[in-house]
């Protein structure tokens, strides 16, 4: 798997560069995942607002609700949930697409035409994952914070000024930086694992099904495991 990743990166910097392919994949992995990621983030923020408000009220600390919601989202939930949704929506589709191309000999056809299949098919997806997932995480963070505001302030009557000012005072550059670092590495994991599983799928319909399942499960588990190790380093 590591050789596959290194070879894909190596082909990325050799001509011809493929900006159109990268944009096409960015549209598929990034733009087309926006709705599902925003929906997930909105309800996550709303649940955080709800749970956070009632928990903090016990201690008379409703004023810090904004910081609780924002830090939870920026540090952890935004990157993890957005990446898991991208895995489910775009990662599985990437595995299936590449796997079908393998089974129907389309990848072999590329190679026989002296077009490197790693460069043409995989490198643009890897770049799109590295750029698309952090952008989706940024959207998820913002939408989630507004979700928390909707419940904590508009529905439950919290103080709007306190909500925003607690975010301003609690969130540091280190938190944002950590979230960006996580989302970049998660984007790499999703593209890498899902492309690898599709590229090396067994030559049958059953093999393709197994490859897609393995891609989603392995990506999700790696995201959660890597999240723990990265958090322990960042804190």
């Amino acid at each position: 798997m590591l050789i596959f990743l290194v070879a894909t990166f190596a082909w990325l910097f050799r001509p011809p560069l493929r900006p159109f392919q990268i944009l096409k994949q960015l549209h598929f992995i990034g733009f087309k995942s926006t709705f599902v990621v925003a929906l997930t983030a909105a309800f996550t923020g709303m649940v955080l607002g709800l749970q956070g408000y009632y928990t903090l009220r016990k201690f008379g600390s409703e004023a810090v609700l904004g910081s609780v919601v924002a830090l939870s989202l920026i540090r952890e939930l935004g990157p993890v949930l957005a990446s898991l949704m991208v895995t489910a929506r775009a990662g599985s589709a990437m595995t299936a697409e590449i796997g079908i191309m393998r089974i129907t000999e389309q990848i072999d056809a590329l190679d026989t035409m002296a077009v490197n299949s790693l460069q043409y098919l995989i490198s643009p997806k890897l770049v799109a994952g590295l750029i698309g997932v952090p952008l989706l995480v940024a959207i998820a963070d913002v939408v989630g914070i507004y979700g928390g505001y909707l419940v904590g302030v508009n529905l439950l009557g919290g103080n709007p000024g306190s909500y925003w000012s607690s975010i301003e005072s609690a969130v540091e550059w280190k938190d944002v930086y950590g979230g960006i670092l996580k989302s970049i590495s998660f984007g790499l994991i999703v593209s890498w694992v899902c492309c690898y599983k599709g590229y090396h799928t067994r030559m049958s319909a059953e093999g393709l099904g197994a490859a897609t399942t393995e891609a989603v499960v392995l990506s999700s588990v790696l995201i959660l495991v890597w999240d723990y190790f990265l958090t322990s380093v960042l804190l």
Binding site: E105, Q106, A109, T112, A114, V115
Partner: protein, 255 residues
């Protein structure tokens, strides 16, 4: 031009090629016959470097390609084109884009020139005006013809055909065979075909080789090959011929 020396390949613990020695003459149409599962397609994939032998050598124009990788291998592959068994068309691209693909990837041509060459090739395979269709909208025979147009568009020195008529009705199979022979005569490329469509292959091939038990059991000019006295080869040829006759009779009964 193409030479295989002692090529051995084991797949999934099963030896498929057990020391293939094969010398393919330049500019001729050579067909490799053999039973299902004998490794004919595997052999073809070794010729173009899609598979590497466990042992042995594959020579193309004086270059040993079995250990080549990356750009060096791509440079050799520029001499080749391949028509796959299932045509291997890119299903997200239209017929026009499929045929134009190697031109756009490998040659810096103006779009008008690309369009001219693609239309010319589509016309040669009888698919004029079908450029806007997607592969999913085509029949098996039409897909093969698009695959043939894509293989021909770069005017390569060598074309590999992996069972080009398998799964087609006899009329469409004849059409594809006629196209291959016509293009071969016109452009003079070296053609290597894998097939078990007997007796048709004897009519269209210059040379015939038989793969049996992982080795080349016999290779001879087409006319001489049919006169072989080897009982195993005779049996394969005669049974194949009878199956074809039965198939043609069934087709004629339907009409």
């Amino acid at each position: 031009m193409i030479k295989l020396v002692g090529v051995e390949k084991t797949l999934g613990g099963q030896p498929v090629l057990r020391g293939v020695d094969l010398d393919i003459p330049a500019g001729k149409l050579t067909t490799i016959i053999g039973g299902s599962g004998e490794g004919k397609s595997v052999l073809l994939k070794h010729v173009i470097g899609l598979m590497q032998p466990d042992r042995g050598e594959v020579w193309v124009d004086g270059i040993e390609i079995s250990r080549l990788k990356g750009r060096a291998l791509n440079d050799v592959r520029k001499k080749f084109a391949m028509l796959f068994q299932g045509a291997a068309l890119f299903d997200s691209l239209t017929v026009f884009e499929n045929v134009a693909f190697p031109l756009r990837e490998k040659l810096r041509l103006a779009e008008t020139e690309v369009a001219r060459r693609v239309e010319e090739k589509l016309e040669q395979v009888g698919l004029s005006g079908m450029g806007h269709k997607f592969p999913a909208e085509l029949s098996g025979g039409m897909k093969k013809r698009v695959g043939l147009a894509r293989a021909l568009v770069m005017e390569p020195e060598i074309i590999l055909f992996d069972e080009p008529t398998t799964g087609l009705d006899p009329l469409m199979a004849n059409t594809i065979n006629d196209l291959i022979v016509g293009m071969h005569r016109t452009f003079g490329f070296t053609a290597v075909m894998v097939s078990h469509e007997i007796p048709e292959i004897f009519l269209i091939s210059d040379w015939v080789a038989m793969l049996k038990d992982g080795k080349i059991a016999a290779m001879a000019p087409s006319a001489d090959f049919q006169k072989t006295t080897d009982p195993a080869i005779r049996e394969f040829i005669s049974v194949g011929g009878m199956a074809m006759v039965k198939n043609v009779n069934r087709e004629s009964l339907k009409t």
